[in-house]
Amino acid sequence: MEEILFYIVSACAIISAFFVVFSKSPMYSIISLIVTFFSISGLYIMLNAQFLSAVQIIVYSGAIMVLFLYVLMMLNLKQKDEPLKGSGFQILAVISGGLVFIGFIGALRGFQSIDLPVSPDSQIGLTKNLGYLLFSEYVLPFELAGILFLSALVGAVMIGKRDL
C-alpha cells in the first residue's frame, strides 16, 4: 500500500518535472513546477517530516511560485520572445543531461544500502522538535538568515529602481 502511494507521487513529480522543461509556454512550465513542489511535499509527509512539508507548501508553492507567476504576467511575454534554440542544440542538451544521469547512476553502482541504523524515531520531523533545535543549537544561523533576508530585500529594491 505505502509502496503504491510512493510510486504514484514520485511518478507525478517526474512527469510534471518533464513538463517544466518541455512545455512551450512559460506559464505552463511554472504551473507544472508548482505541481512538482506539491508532490515533493507529499514525499516529505511520507518521510514523516511534517514541518518540512508545511514549509514546502507555504514557502515554495505559496511565496516563491507566486513571485514567479507575478513576474511572468508583468513582463507580458509573447510567443515570439522565446525563439527555440536550434534543434541540434536541443538534442545535444538533452543528451548531455542524460549523460549526467548515467554518470550519477554509475557512481551509485557500488552503493549498497548501507545499514543505516533504521531507527524510525517518528518524532524528529515534528515542528516541536525542530523548533527546539532551531532556537537552541542553530540560533546563530537562524539570525544570520534574517540578516540575509534583509539584505536581499534591500538589494531587490535597489536593483528594481528605475533610475539607478
Binding site: 513529480a13 514546502q56 522565446e82 542524460g98 533504521v118 525542530l130 542553530y138
Partner: protein
C-alpha cells in the same frame, strides 16, 4: 504507516528519484532560453537535493538534515527575490528575457 513506509521502501528509491529530478533540472537549464524558466529549473535542482537530505535524515533518525533543508529553503527564497529583480531590470533594458541576448554583459 510511516514506520512501515520507511521499512518497506529502501533508501535507494529516494536516491534514484532525487537523482532523476536533479538531471531533469540540469537538462532544463541547458535546453530553455527563457531566463525565468532557467531560474525555475535551478529551483527544481535545489528541491531534489532537499528531498535527498530529508530522506537521509529520516532514515537515520537525526534531525540535523531537516534543519539544513530549512536553511536551503531560506537561501533559495532570497535568491529568487534578487534573481527576479535582475531579470525584470534586464527586461526593461532589452525588452526580452532571452539569455542568448545577455552576452552584452561582458566587460
Amino acid at each position: 504507516m510511516v514506520n512501515s513506509l520507511l521499512q518497506s521502501i529502501p533508501i535507494d528509491y529516494f536516491i534514484y528519484l532525487s537523482t532523476l529530478l536533479f538531471c531533469i533540472g540540469v537538462t532544463g537549464v541547458l535546453v530553455r532560453r527563457n531566463a525565468i524558466i532557467i531560474l525555475g529549473c535551478v529551483e527544481l535542482m535545489l528541491n531534489s537535493v532537499n528531498l535527498l537530505l530529508a530522506a537521509f535524515s529520516a532514515y537515520k533518525g537525526d534531525a540535523d538534515g531537516q534543519i539544513l533543508v530549512f536553511f536551503i529553503m531560506v537561501v533559495a527564497a532570497a535568491e529568487v527575490a534578487v534573481g527576479l529583480a535582475i531579470i525584470t531590470m534586464l527586461y526593461r533594458n532589452t525588452r526580452s528575457v532571452d539569455v542568448s541576448l545577455f552576452n552584452r554583459l561582458k566587460g
